[in-house]
């Protein structure tokens, strides 16, 4: 199968700090791909490189085998690279309707002039209803986004990114700060995205059990370098990984 997202020897340095060092890996459609590593390993930098907030110093990024290395971030998003943030980023002073429509706008760009004269995007209500089943809560359209709890906002951000019909979603620590049932719902949503819609998912997560249970493939980075990749068993038995990451955790537990 053709990878939906492929990084080829991507490099990025900030001053003297190497944030990405010849990083290569690829994400297949419908695959939940874990991206793990200790704090400061360069995970968020990779996210920013893929979504185009940073530009690569060297190397290439391919989306469906199309080179997008030089493409500005908004065009990448329009191609189908969705993203969520560690702390959800919404329109603080708007209601939920506008915030979710922001997601559908992405898949229905029809120019500002036609938008002004009342052209509407495709019918997204049924889609939304379906997704909210998995998200496990409901809300009032006209409520302020700031009025709903943090966990629900995180879920809502994933829903929003799915409303845009992306081909791949970059998910940054979706479980951080959520309670167990909310984490379950996050995973339900991501599984639906991957398995029913064939969306590739690149998942940064610190909760090891989640990553080990849900990801088919895992890539481990440290100091910007890929130190291991493969399925969960391979990764967790890799000596480098144990030393760099898991090992330290086990020591800490002892």
């Amino acid at each position: 199968m053709k990878p939906v997202l492929r990084l080829d020897t991507v490099c990025k340095r900030f001053g003297g700090v190497i944030a990405a060092d010849n990083t290569s890996f690829s994400v297949l459609p419908g695959e939940i791909h874990g991206l793990i590593g200790p704090n400061g390993a360069g995970k968020s930098t990779l996210m920013n490189l893929i979504s185009g907030i940073y530009t690569c110093d060297h190397g290439n990024i391919y989306f469906n085998e199309q080179d997008i290395t030089q493409m500005p971030p908004y065009e990448r998003a329009r191609l189908g690279i969705g993203r969520t943030f560690q702390t959800p980023r919404f329109l603080q002073r708007s209601n939920i309707r506008d915030n979710l429509l922001l997601g559908t706008d992405l898949s229905n760009r029809f120019g500002y002039t036609s938008a002004f004269f009342g052209k509407k995007g495709d019918d997204f209500e049924s889609e939304l209803n379906k997704l909210m089943q998995y998200a496990g809560f409901s809300f009032d359209w006209d409520d302020d986004i700031s009025g709903i709890p943090f966990g629900q906002r995180k879920l809502l951000e994933i829903v929003r990114s799915m409303l845009a019909h992306p081909k791949v979603i970059l998910v940054d620590e979706p479980a951080a700060g959520l309670n167990n049932s909310e984490v379950d719902n996050v995973m339900k949503l991501l599984t639906v995205a991957a398995k029913e819609r064939g969306i590739g998912i690149l998942l940064i997560e610190h909760a090891m059990d989640l990553v080990m249970n849900f990801c088919e493939q895992i890539v481990v980075i440290n100091f910007g370098k890929v130190i291991a990749s493969g399925n969960p068993e391979e990764v967790s038995s890799n000596q480098d990984v144990i030393e760099a990451y898991l090992g330290r955790q086990r020591n800490a537990q002892n």
Partner: protein
């Protein structure tokens, strides 16, 4: 021609150092409390008016004038802080403080109008020619310079150096920096943020007001004095936002551009300054002396 050029340079430098005083005040406030002060020009104007009262109305002798005016400037600074900053320090909306300074600008302008009247006042020069009653002319090597400009350059340059040393080299400046960056942490290591912020406000007002006093004999004292702050803004941006050295050099550049512009485009000297500002912004937004600010995602 050469004489003319030297004369223009002196004029330009004189205005430049005045702008530099205003600009330094702006930067210090931005650093200490993160506020762009749009009433800076009005404080500047108020300084000129207050000095006028002390010198012309009350006729204070110089040895009394200096402390009296400095104290009154400091008090103005304290009041300004108490009104525009203190109640708004927790404001959730960053523009609120800026708009409040605009409001304060209105109040100061109107106060000055009510107290000193609508007619522009003329302030006696520091060094007066006894025959004409106007500023004395200094003649070196056949070049005629107005004494007032020379005095402006001398006094303001000393002030600039003092303020620069205080903030960049001495402990007091580091205290203010620390307060600006993290109030809570600064208080933890024993720097009372209230005191440093109040001190900054007082010092800034004093410096700016002295600028107003120095420049008053060159212009008439009226509400239009406050518009000089726009040139100081230009200086700040050209030099590099948030950087004292840059602000000083940028302001000097603005003063010189303005002076030289009168050679060629006398009526467009304002435009020339701000066209330079826009060009600098477009090609070097961090300013001539600023460091490039990395985009933060």
């Amino acid at each position: 021609m050469l004489n003319n050029l030297i004369g223009l340079t002196v004029n330009g430098l004189a205005m430049g150092v005045v702008y530099a005083l205003i600009a330094m005040g702006l930067i210090l406030l931005v650093r200490a409390v993160g506020v762009m002060n749009f009433a800076q020009g009005d404080l500047f104007m108020l300084g000129a008016y207050l000095s006028f009262t002390f010198i012309v109305n009350i006729k204070l002798p110089y040895w009394l004038f200096v402390p009296a005016s400095l104290i009154s400037f400091a008090i103005v600074g304290l009041i300004f802080m108490a009104v525009t900053y203190w109640p708004l320090r927790e404001a959730s909306y960053p523009q609120a403080v800026i708009i409040a300074t605009m409001g304060a600008g209105y109040v100061i302008k109107e106060l000055a109008y009510k107290i000193w009247g609508p007619v522009a006042l003329s302030m006696p020069a520091l060094v007066i020619n006894p025959e004409t009653g106007t500023t004395k002319v200094l003649e070196i090597f056949g070049i005629k310079l107005q004494w007032q400009y020379v005095m402006i350059i001398a006094v303001c340059a000393v002030l600039i150096v003092l303020v620069f040393m205080l903030f960049e080299k001495l402990y007091a400046g580091r205290m203010m920096q620390a307060t600006a960056q993290d109030k809570y942490a600064a208080e933890l290591i024993g720097i009372p943020s209230v005191v440093t912020i109040a001190a900054t406000y007082m010092l800034v007002t004093m410096v700016v007001s002295i600028g107003g006093y120095m420049v008053a004999p060159v212009f008439f004292i009226s509400a239009t004095l406050s518009s000089l702050q726009l040139r100081a803004f230009a200086g700040v941006v050209i030099g590099g936002f948030g950087n004292l050295k840059g602000a000083i050099i940028g302001s000097l550049i603005v003063g010189l551009i303005e002076a030289y512009a009168t050679l060629q485009w006398s009526s467009y000297k304002d435009a020339v300054v701000f066209i330079v500002l826009i060009i600098v912004l477009i090609f070097r937004p961090q300013g001539l002396f600023g460091e490039k600010i990395a985009d933060k995602a």
